[in-house]
């Protein structure tokens, strides 16, 4: 079936060995995020220091990566997270995962620590550890271009870290291409801790397609579904920015940290404002959605440089959280963050927290090193990006991420920091949307909307459609607590599947309910890999992946206590802005507990959030770790 291999690389000893993935493991964990979950549980020693050589850094291509599956370019990166001390898991688009597969590898398990900076050179079945001392200090743009020049091959695909990763910023990301980022949970920091500057891949090998004729039919059907989709029509022109206007109007944005839920002057950042500055759209591997804006940096020291983005979450982090209301400044900020390799979501949240503390007089000029922290100050924002990348002044404190920075600035500052499990929330306000509040809180990698995105898709659908789609009753009301647990659970499984297959969420349910179903997932897998799984087996695999991630977190000391949104969500009501249902809202503590219980039940976990022995047994996880791969 799959001829691709897994490679184990020890950077301390230089030892490299390879192996194959047994079909049994494929059926249980598929690929991408699924295999990554298994590898983490098996290769990361319990309670190890995330920045120690013991931590395992996993690069994992999706099960159908680089094939006729729509948008099959996603790559999953995993390790124990230096930001949260729990599951580290991040996913990037672009072209890296397919190239890794064409080079003959599906998964890399990287352990140890190199004495001096190195990069991995993966090409047609071979892996070499190469010296990267000449790349250290280079940004995420220069690094790939130097590697390509040295190898005299412009087709090489590179994933690398910038200065932030080298300087062990806890939320340093990994960049591939111009701006595709594995942003969250500090995977770039783990690379930096291993002295691993980059992984470069180039391949000319076959990735088999089990049934080409059927795979073509399925691609035609699925891309037709996307093309006819109303959401796609906006998405392919505006990208994720299309969500900004409706979200601001209804009042579900984090504005100035969490001082407001709506920005009255927010129009300056609506998608149409990018029209003049965008020079067109680009796509990731095999994707018909092409949601990525291209632009020329309009001002500042990098003026005239080609760049891509911003995503809505970056626009939100800078535009609403920090309240920088000028599109040109957002474009400059986006470019700088990518260049240095900093997660924009974490940056926006940490800095807006600091601004609020400064405004309230909780921190002073001594702590900020004389930097005046004001809302919407563009120059201060640029300065802080550099300070964080270089771990200078206040930047050194913020670079530690929520948990350690709160420790440094004092317990009383914790209330104002919006994080779950030590990872910052994105730029949305979930106080009026209980299901989404539950989703960001139960996410196995900390506050996150890409592990589940419940509710949004359900509201506009007729009752019958909702019932047949989910298989259980879901209320149409955005603000309801009822059914939230099941809804979050269902979304978690669907999203785990797309991450395991290596297919972009913008081709599946995330984009719209009228996209791929679990039956479509089964067909794709069958036609491409030859592996036959029923929709039930497919959903079981998703449950196994999610539960295994949960087991990893439990082993590292997490539990029910870590499945709550920020305390502020229960205490501070939203202001009287936005639609009536979004005004004056806090989360109801008692109802939240109930929906958490319901969520655990849906997964087959006990009331402490620990998977029950029956669940573990049913999923075939009783003997883990089994060290099969």
């Amino acid at each position: 079936m799959q001829e691709q291999k897994i490679a184990y690389i020890d950077l301390s000893t230089g030892e490299i060995r390879t192996g194959h993935i047994p079909e049994k493991i494929r059926r249980m964990y598929l690929g991408g995020r699924g295999i990554a979950a298994y590898l983490l549980y098996n290769h990361v020693p319990e309670r190890c220091d995330p920045l120690s050589p013991d931590n395992a850094f996993i690069v994992s291509a999706g099960l159908v990566g680089g094939t006729l599956a729509p948008s099959s370019g996603r790559c999953d990166l995993a390790a124990k997270s230096p930001l949260t001390g729990l599951l580290g898991s991040s996913n990037m688009g672009g072209f890296f995962a397919p190239e890794l597969r064409f080079a003959g590898f599906d998964h890399l398990v990287i352990k140890g620590k190199a004495n001096t900076p190195v990069y991995l050179w993966v090409h047609d079945g071979e892996i070499e550890i190469r010296d990267a001392s000449h790349l250290w200090g280079k940004d995420t743009r220069e690094t790939p271009s130097i590697i390509r020049k040295n190898h005299q091959d412009e087709e090489i695909k590179v994933m690398c870290i910038g200065e932030a990763g080298e300087n062990l910023v806890h939320f340093a990301n990994i960049i591939t291409g111009t701006k595709n980022a594995a942003g969250r949970t500090g995977m770039g920091c783990v690379m930096g801790s291993k002295n691993l500057k980059a992984v470069a891949a180039r391949g000319t090998r076959d990735v088999p397609i089990s049934n080409p004729e059927k795979a073509f039919e399925q691609l035609e059907r699925l891309s037709g579904m996307i093309r006819d989709n109303e959401v796609f029509k906006g998405f392919s022109i505006m990208g994720t920015l299309m969500f900004h206007e409706p979200s601001n109007i209804i009042g579900r944005l984090r504005v100035r940290n969490l001082l407001s839920n709506q920005d009255p002057a927010g129009e300056s950042l609506y998608a149409d404002k990018l029209e003049k500055l965008s020079i067109g759209m680009a796509a990731c591997f095999g994707c018909t959605v092409h949601c990525r804006h291209r632009y020329i940096v309009p001002e500042g020291p990098c003026q005239g440089t080609y760049s891509e983005g911003p995503e809505w979450s970056t626009l939100g982090a800078l535009g609403t959280e920090l309240n920088v209301g000028r599109m040109e400044a957002i474009l400059v900020g986006n470019h700088l963050l990518n260049k240095y390799g900093i997660d924009s979501l974490e940056f926006g949240s940490m800095l807006s927290w600091a601004i609020e503390l400064y405004e309230k007089g909780i921190i002073d000029d001594v702590v900020t090193g004389g930097v005046k922290l004001d809302w919407g100050d563009e120059d201060m924002m640029y300065q802080m990006i550099e300070q964080i990348a270089r771990r200078e002044g206040l930047g050194d404190i913020l670079a530690d991420g929520p948990l350690r920075a709160i420790e440094k600035l004092g317990e009383e500052t914790g209330f104002y920091n919006l994080h779950v499990k030590g990872m910052s929330l994105l730029h949305t306000d979930e106080r009026a949307t209980p299901a989404m509040a539950l989703g960001v809180s139960t996410s196995t990698r900390g506050a996150d909307h890409l592990r589940s995105r419940p509710g949004v898709d359900a509201i506009s659908l007729p009752q019958e459609t909702r019932d047949s789609l989910f298989g259980f009753a879901v209320p149409a009301d955005f603000h309801s607590y009822e059914g939230s647990g099941k809804l979050v659970h269902w979304h978690e499984l669907m999203f785990a599947l797309s991450d395991a297959l290596g297919v972009c969420k913008f081709q599946v349910f995330f984009l719209s309910p009228s996209t791929m179903s679990s039956d479509d997932y089964c067909k794709l897998v069958q036609y491409i890999t030859g592996m036959e799984l029923s929709p039930t087996e497919m959903m079981e695999a998703a449950e196994r992946i999610y539960t295994m991630e949960r087991m990893f977190n439990i082993r590292e000391g997490a539990g029910r206590k870590d499945d709550y949104p920020p305390e502020r969500y229960f205490v501070d009501p939203t202001p009287a802005l936005g639609l009536p249902g979004f005004q004056g809202k806090t989360l109801d503590r008692e109802k939240y507990e109930q929906q958490l219980d319901e969520y655990y039940q849906a997964h087959g976990w006990d009331n402490d959030g620990i998977p029950t022995p029956e669940t573990i047994d049913n999923l075939g996880l009783a003997k883990e770790p089994t060290y099969i791969i």
Binding site: E155, A283, G286
Partner: protein
């Protein structure tokens, strides 16, 4: 009427689905290295520029082929490669100005775009229509029309004045 593969470079998003589609269609496997079309990526400059056989009238590959394996097929409007005659000398690879004559390393033979015998698969799956298979005369007029959009507006304004 002869058709031709027309590329609108401004519409290409660089997704490379055409490469995958081509390689699966021709070889039954996904492997861009064995595709007859390549999207040349210019990272940090532009998303991609699709390159394939231009089906030249005065094709250098035809001129240098010592065994006459390359000939013009006017029905489809292409340069055809006859594998029964081809000896795999790769002179055509050397002289093609576009790099469009390739070598399939796995099959040990020279490869080129054959327009899928008149129904190119890459065109079928190109979402933005950066690749189109058009009648030769259409290819020209469509571009002319686009190029004169601004001028037509100017003339209209001038006429009103």
């Amino acid at each position: 009427m002869t058709k031709m593969l027309v590329v609108d470079h401004l519409k290409c998003t660089g997704c490379r689905l055409c490469e995958v589609v081509c390689s699966v269609n021709k070889n039954g496997v996904s492997n861009p290295a064995r595709a007859r079309i390549a999207v040349i990526g210019w990272e940090n400059i532009c998303p991609g520029i699709p390159m394939m056989c231009q089906q030249c009238e005065m094709a250098p590959c035809m001129s240098v082929c010592p065994v006459g394996a390359l000939t013009r097929d006017e029905n489809i409007g292409r340069v055809s490669l006859n594998y029964d005659l081809c000896i795999g000398c790769k002179l055509c690879v050397a002289v093609c100005p576009f790099g469009a004559m390739g070598i399939d390393a796995a099959a040990r033979r020279v490869i080129k775009c054959d327009l899928c015998d008149g129904d190119p698969m890459c065109v079928k799956f190109c979402e933005t229509k950066a690749l189109q298979f058009l009648d030769e005369s259409q290819a020209k007029t469509a571009k002319m029309r686009l190029a004169t959009t601004g001028l037509s507006e100017l003339i209209r304004k001038f006429a009103i004045q």
